[in-house]
């Protein structure tokens, strides 16, 4: 215990000394703190004969972001694809790419050596199916009577269903086709929607995509926006008469970008599939609109001077956007409808920097 006491004595002294020092340091800081506080309210008279004018600060709910490019497209999977049923030598499209078509409307005519083969194949598939069906029905009774072996019955069943499947496949392909008496084949639209022809040049082989039909409701604008925009996006403006509302955000982020899907609010937008459109993003904002001439910098912070009778108070603000004449700012306190000094602001700044003081 004596040992502890002995040890404690200098510690107490040091401790007290440190507290005393801190107290004095704090005491010394008080005038400078007050000085700064004092600085925040300034008599208007310090501006002398310089012009003094104010502007009312307005509350603002939106700010404009930098333009982005959007692509008029459709979400993956919302297209109805039509492929060529056989190899062709020539495809003649009868509608313009991107046209709106009704179900059953002729899209293109196909010509080629394989047309005849296709029709033969279709006929033979039909005959095969009929034969297979007869065979199946006949042997079904035998199988039930256990006249034939189960292995034989499996083979017959398999053969029948293969023929049926094959025929249905042809039947399905034929639903896109119209074949006249001269064996001229035309491709028709399976749905109402916009036709999108994939590639004119390379449509030749069986299985090639002849066209897609996209439901008009599925056509949207896809915008890749920087992540920082995504969180505050409200809507997009395409033109003075066209606004786009946001439909969805993709949940997967592409490193620094996020994909947004938007669709027109009105029919005046007249979007064309495949079109690139310049869009102005409108961001949600909770702040104020102040004239550019009202803002000045002091000690690495931006301020505006708010009028209060014959004085102005300095309010620290944060600039988050701009238009031609105004800044969009946020402030820690409510400054809506307050009057901000908009002329001779640099003089106020000069006074605060103690310029002209002799």
């Amino acid at each position: 215990m004596p040992f502890l006491l002995l040890k404690k004595t200098p510690n107490v002294f040091t401790h007290n000394f440190v507290i005393l020092c801190l107290f004095f340091i704090t005491l010394c800081q008080i005038p400078s703190v007050f000085a700064f506080e004092k600085k925040e309210t300034i008599e208007l008279s310090v501006l002398g004969d310089f012009e003094i004018s104010f502007s009312t600060i307005e509350k603002e709910a939106f700010i404009v972001g930098q333009n982005l490019i959007g692509e008029v497209t459709y979400k993956p999977g919302e297209n109805y694809s039509v492929v060529l049923p056989f190899d062709v030598q020539k495809v003649t499209y009868h509608i313009k790419n991107g046209s709106y078509v009704e179900q059953g409307e002729t899209i293109a005519t196909v010509e080629g050596y394989d047309v005849h083969h296709f029709l033969d194949e279709f006929e033979s598939a039909k005959i095969i199916l009929e034969a297979s069906e007869n065979h199946f029905q006949t042997n079904k009774a035998y199988f039930e009577n256990k006249t034939i072996k189960s292995t034989q019955w499996i083979e017959i069943t398999k053969s029948y269903f293969e023929a049926k499947l094959n025929f249905e496949h042809f039947q399905h392909q034929m639903s896109f086709l119209h074949i006249d008496k001269n064996e001229k084949i035309t491709l028709i639209s399976p749905k109402n929607g916009i036709v999108k022809i994939a590639n004119f040049q390379n449509i030749k082989s069986e299985g090639d995509l002849a066209f897609d039909v996209i439901n008009t409701d599925s056509v949207q604008v896809k915008i890749t926006t920087p992540l920082s925009y995504a969180t505050n996006l409200s809507h997009f403006i395409m033109s003075s008469s066209c606004e786009l509302e946001i439909n969805s955000f993709e949940s997967i982020v592409d490193k620094y970008h996020q994909t947004v899907w938007a669709s027109p609010k009105s029919e005046q937008c007249k979007l064309t599939l495949g079109q690139s459109v310049k869009l102005t993003p409108i961001l949600n904002f909770d702040g104020y609109k102040v004239p550019k001439s009202s803002i000045f910098e002091l000690n690495d912070k931006d301020y505006i001077a708010i009028k209060s009778e014959n004085t102005v108070s300095l309010i620290s603000i944060l600039i988050v956007g701009a238009n031609n004449k105004e800044y969009y700012v946020t402030a820690k306190q409510d400054i809506s409808n307050k009057k901000a000094l908009v002329s001779s602001v640099s003089i106020l700044q000069g006074k605060l920097l103690e310029l002209g003081v002799e």
Binding site: V46, G48, F50, Q66, P226, Y256, H257, I319, S346, G356
Partner: protein
């Protein structure tokens, strides 16, 4: 030699007369062709380099350009000073060479070194050596007025119509354009479209520059003929620019207008000019070094008259500064003083000589000496200016001395030797006094020789004074030994000339009082010694300054606003001040304010700095008696416009101060060191101390700190993913903010820059970078065609940095400048120095110097204190060879302090400071006092063998010498009297000189007339 000259003149009278007439004709021609200026050429051989680096801050420029060039230039021989000022986007490097260095050699040396170093400097550098001008070369300023033309059109008119024509005027080094907007074709690429088409900025820039070219191919031989081949691609107009093909893909041709907006705009402005509250366009004529300023200005005015007729209807050239006004006023002031002095001297001659013929002969020597002086001035490349002509005024009183002595002796000899051949008598009379006349002139020349040894500004100012005096004295000497005897032989009669009654009265009075003095010397000795003691006391109390301020007739108010102010706000403040000044001060005719830098970068002010130039109405219309009162009135008006630093100066004064110290103000205190923050803090402390000292005015500290930099530092790990480098980012952002000139388009006779500029031609307001937030959000088109906000690839932070970096001989310094009012500069500096020593502890490695007027004053004092004793020793040697007596030579030298005391008292009474002109006055006084002493003592010595008592001999001798002594003194006094009462610009410099000489001559004449005979008497008695 002297005798031969006199003999030859008298025997070859016709030849000499014709020769003199021819000489006078040449003299008159010289006078008409001598370059006329307000001041002598005061600038040293100086070469200035102005380099512009758009977008770069002071620190970067200092490290990448200024230091590099300074290191290269430091090796050039014969340099005296290497000084630089680095600010945002510009650096000015000035090299002063030793006196006498050939300017063309100096420029060649600098050019060679600059050419070596240029490849290693940043690629966006432009500029080079400034025109071959001096700081005083801004001789003529005007604004281009036309209310129907825009600022761009007016600037175009100035740049491409007026400027080229004015540059053809001989003596014009350049025409600086200020204010307005420089037309440019602005290309604002749409980065979204560029991304869509996969076009990078490099591709776009290359496509435009590569297309916009006409090339020479060579010759095609076609049978017996040749055809010249060329390629053509230059854009002819804005439409061809719009249709420039940028890229061709498989099925698309992408033209410039497909991906960019092309419009007519303007280059980024670094400064502006406003006139009477509205923006204006200003032209500034820069005269070539060593040109005839008055002639250049006249030629410019004539040229402008011609140009004005060819300008669009309603366009006027409004001149607001014309150096010839100052030159004419100053030269008028001095020539008026000169003509008045001539008249006064002639009247005095008539009074003292009492004979119109002899007065005429002597008086004729004045214009003849003056004309011969002009010949020598022309030969020695001296211009007619305030100083050189002032020298002539100073010399006027002394010019007649040699002729007076010659003519007086001729008159005496002719009247007493009427039976001898006339020419023989004249020859003998001249021969008798030729040696004293020659020695007297040599003494005067020796007296003024220290002025020829002065260095610095004082040397440049007073060398012409001394040279003119020497030329005038030599001319007068030559004339007194040649044409004066001839004129005397032709005009003077053989009859005895009756002494004027005034002289008789004065002689009677003098001999009476001198006798009393010799008999009872105590009173005069006590009086003289007590006056001498009083003068010593007064001398201690005399204010000391370098040079009186010349009233140039115009006023410049220098404004320094908040360092981060924008150009628009700065101009707005200027316009408000201009309107207020015009409203409150009717003495101001017009105001032209210049903010920021000029086109050539000769005076690279910041956007927060403004020179407000005021043209004043004639003084007769003022409400005030003096300019000081007017300045006070302006100061009162400006007191209502706070929040900025204000200083008063004048056009030439401002440039001289800048030339001497790199800044303006009577005093410039420089703190040398390395750390910017420490330098700023020390300068602040010194500034605060200076402000507390009585007499301090316009104390200004050059705003070194206060620069705010937005620091953009790429995040390398992220940036590399997109292939973005710092260089590419700088390039990209530069076009977004500053604009990037990539080519030019010939529009008629002028080249209009083609610039990438999105700052003023943005497609969306949100694209404008007008805040840090906007900068962070700015979408950047990455080299790999990805758009990303800047903040994703770079860290953006604010940094404080210097606004300005000044260097001397490779060392950084901070400066505080101040004007001193109602007290002398030297005592002010002493007090300030004392306070600095007591209150500011300079850290290790930091030094402090006082410059400006004070530096010049100190140097001048040091030089004069070294040179005057040498001159006195030379005079003493001449005296010793004349009298062969150490005691008698000392006696004459001893007369000098008594002469000087009058000068001191006169200075004190007239409230003038002890300046360099006053010191020159003391030097002149020294010469006249010695000369009078010689006149007196030599006669005493001549009559030594006379059978008279010592007292009678001295009194008789002194009485006989009364007239020449009085004539020498009064002609010198009255010759300078017009300068004391002259009020026009230019009189201020010579006034202290005239006051000192006149005051000194009063005491000097009294002591010469009373103390010198008394002391001689004591000396003789002791020797006996």
């Amino acid at each position: 030699m002297l005798n031969f000259l006199i003999k030859f003149s008298l025997t070859q009278r016709l030849f000499v007369c014709i020769f003199v007439v021819l000489t006078l004709f040449v003299g008159a021609k010289s006078w008409l062709s001598i370059p006329i200026d307000a001041f002598p050429e005061i600038s040293p051989t100086q070469v200035k380099i102005v380099l512009k680096l758009p977008g770069m801050n002071a620190l970067e420029i200092e490290s990448q350009v200024t230091r590099v060039i300074e290191t290269e230039l430091l090796g050039i021989p014969s340099q005296e000073m290497l000084r630089s000022t680095t600010k945002y986007a510009i650096t000015d490097i000035t090299i002063d060479f030793e006196e006498g260095t050939d300017i063309y050699w100096a420029r060649q040396q600098v050019n060679e070194r600059l050419a070596n170093i240029l490849p290693s400097l940043p690629s966006n550098i432009s500029g080079g050596m400034a025109p071959m001008s001096t700081p005083l070369s801004e001789v003529f300023m005007f604004t281009v007025e036309n209310p129907t033309l825009s600022l761009t059109q007016r600037r175009e008119l100035l740049d491409w119509h007026i400027r080229p024509l004015l540059r053809t005027v001989s003596g014009v080094a350049d025409v600086n354009s200020l204010g307005g907007h420089v037309k440019a074709y602005e290309i604002t690429p749409d980065i979204l479209l560029m991304q869509q088409y996969n076009i990078s900025f490099n591709e776009l820039e290359t496509a435009i520059t590569a297309t916009n070219q006409n090339g020479g191919v060579g010759r095609l031989v076609k049978g017996n003929d040749t055809l010249i081949l060329r390629t053509e691609g230059k854009f002819e107009n804005i439409d061809s620019l719009k249709n420039a093909v940028i890229k061709t893909t498989k099925n698309k041709v992408i033209k410039l207008h497909n991906i960019a907006t092309i419009s007519i705009g303007s280059l980024t402005r670094y400064g502006a000019v406003s006139k009477n509250g509205e923006e204006a366009v200003q032209g500034l004529i820069i005269a070539l070094k060593n040109s005839n300023t008055a002639k250049v200005v006249d030629d410019v005015k004539n040229k402008l008259k011609t140009i004005e007729a060819s300008l669009p209807t309603g366009t006027k050239i409004n001149v607001f500064y014309d150096r010839s006004n100052l030159i004419n006023t100053a030269i008028n002031t001095i020539t008026n003083a000169l003509s008045q002095a001539v008249i006064l001297v002639i009247v005095l001659l008539a009074i003292f000589l009492g004979d119109i013929r002899s007065s005429l002969v002597v008086a004729l020597s004045l214009p003849m000496s003056a004309l011969m002086t002009f010949i020598l001035m022309k030969e020695f490349d001296l211009s007619a200016n305030l100083m050189s002509l002032g020298g002539l005024v100073i010399a006027i009183g002394m010019l007649v001395d040699s002729s007076v002595v010659i003519v007086e002796n001729i008159v005496n000899r002719l009247s007493s030797n009427q039976h001898l051949p006339r020419l023989h008598v004249i020859y003998r009379a001249c021969k008798e006094v030729a040696t004293p006349v020659f020695s007297g002139t040599i003494i005067i020349i020796i007296v003024f020789s220290p002025l020829l040894m002065l260095s610095g500004l004082e040397g440049k100012l007073f060398t012409p004074v001394a040279l003119t005096i020497v030329f005038a004295m030599l001319s007068a000497l030559l004339l007194s030994l040649t044409i004066i005897p001839i004129l005397a032989s032709l005009l003077l009669k053989n009859e005895p000339v009756k002494q004027p009654k005034l002289v008789t009265f004065l002689q009677r009075f003098y001999s009476k009082t001198l006798r009393k003095t010799i008999n009872k010397p105590l009173a005069i000795v006590v009086l003289s010694i007590s006056t001498f003691i009083v003068s010593i006391v007064l001398f201690q109390g005399l204010g000391k300054s370098f040079m009186p301020v010349l009233d140039e007739g115009d006023i410049i108010v220098q404004l320094e606003k908040s360092p981060s102010i924008s150009l628009a706000s700065s101009v707005d403040i200027d316009e408000q001040i201009e309107k207020a000044l015009l409203k409150n001060t009717p003495e101001i005719i017009q105001i032209v304010a210049r903010t920021g830098s000029d086109e050539l970068g000769l005076d690279p002010m910041g956007l927060n700095e403004t020179d407000v130039f005021m043209e004043l109405a004639p003084k007769s219309t003022w409400r005030f008696d003096t300019k000081t009162e007017l300045i006070e009135d302006i100061r009162n008006t400006l007191a209502n416009y706070p929040g900025m630093n204000i200083g008063f100066t004048q056009p030439i004064q401002m440039r001289v101060s800048e030339m001497l110290t790199g800044g303006t103000g009577d005093i410039s205190i420089k703190v040398f060191g390395n750390d910017i923050a420490t330098l700023t803090s020390l300068a602040e402390e010194i500034s605060a101390l200076a402000n507390k000292i009585p007499g301090a005015s316009d104390v200004q500290m050059a705003l070194i700190e206060g620069g705010k930099y937005v620091n953009i530092k790429l995040i390398p790990e992220v940036a590399s993913q997109f292939g973005l480098s710092t260089q590419a980012l700088s390039h990209y952002l530069k076009y977004q903010l500053e604009g990037l000139q990539i080519s030019s388009l010939l529009d008629g006779n002028h080249a209009v820059p083609i610039v990438f500029n999105s700052a003023k031609n943005i497609t969306s307001t949100a694209d404008e970078i007008s805040s840090i937030h906007a900068l962070k959000q700015k979408l950047i088109l990455m080299p790999n065609n990805v758009l990303l906000p800047l903040e994703q690839v770079a860290n953006i932070s604010m940094k404080n940095g210097p606004l300005l970096i000044e260097r001397e001989k490779g060392n950084r310094f901070a400066s505080v400048s101040a004007n001193v009012v109602n007290r002398d500069v030297v005592s002010f500096v002493d007090e300030l120095n004392m306070k600095i020593k007591n209150e500011i502890a300079l850290p290790s490695g930091y030094t402090l110097t006082f410059g400006g007027e004070f530096e010049s004053q100190q140097r001048a004092t040091k030089n004069l204190l070294f040179l005057i004793p040498i001159a006195l020793i030379l005079i003493f040697i001449i005296l010793f060879t004349t009298f062969n007596s150490l005691a008698k030579s000392s006696l004459i030298i001893a007369n000098i302090p008594f002469a000087l005391m009058g000068g001191v008292i006169a200075l004190y009474v007239s409230n003038e400071y002890l300046s360099v002109p006053a010191s020159v006055g003391f030097i002149a006084l020294l010469g006249i006092a010695v000369l009078n002493g010689i006149v007196m003592i030599s006669y005493f010595e001549q009559t030594k063998q006379a059978a008279e008592s010592l007292h009678n001999r001295i009194i008789d001798g002194a009485k006989r010498r009364l007239r020449p002594v009085l004539m020498t003194a009064t002609t010198a006094m009255f010759g300078l009297l017009p300068l004391v009462f002259a009020t026009g610009p230019g009189a201020e410099i010579q006034k202290p000189l005239a006051i000192v000489v006149i005051g000194g001559l009063i005491t000097s004449t009294i002591t010469t007339l009373y103390l010198l005979p008394l002391f001689y008497c004591w000396l003789e008695k002791r020797n006996a």
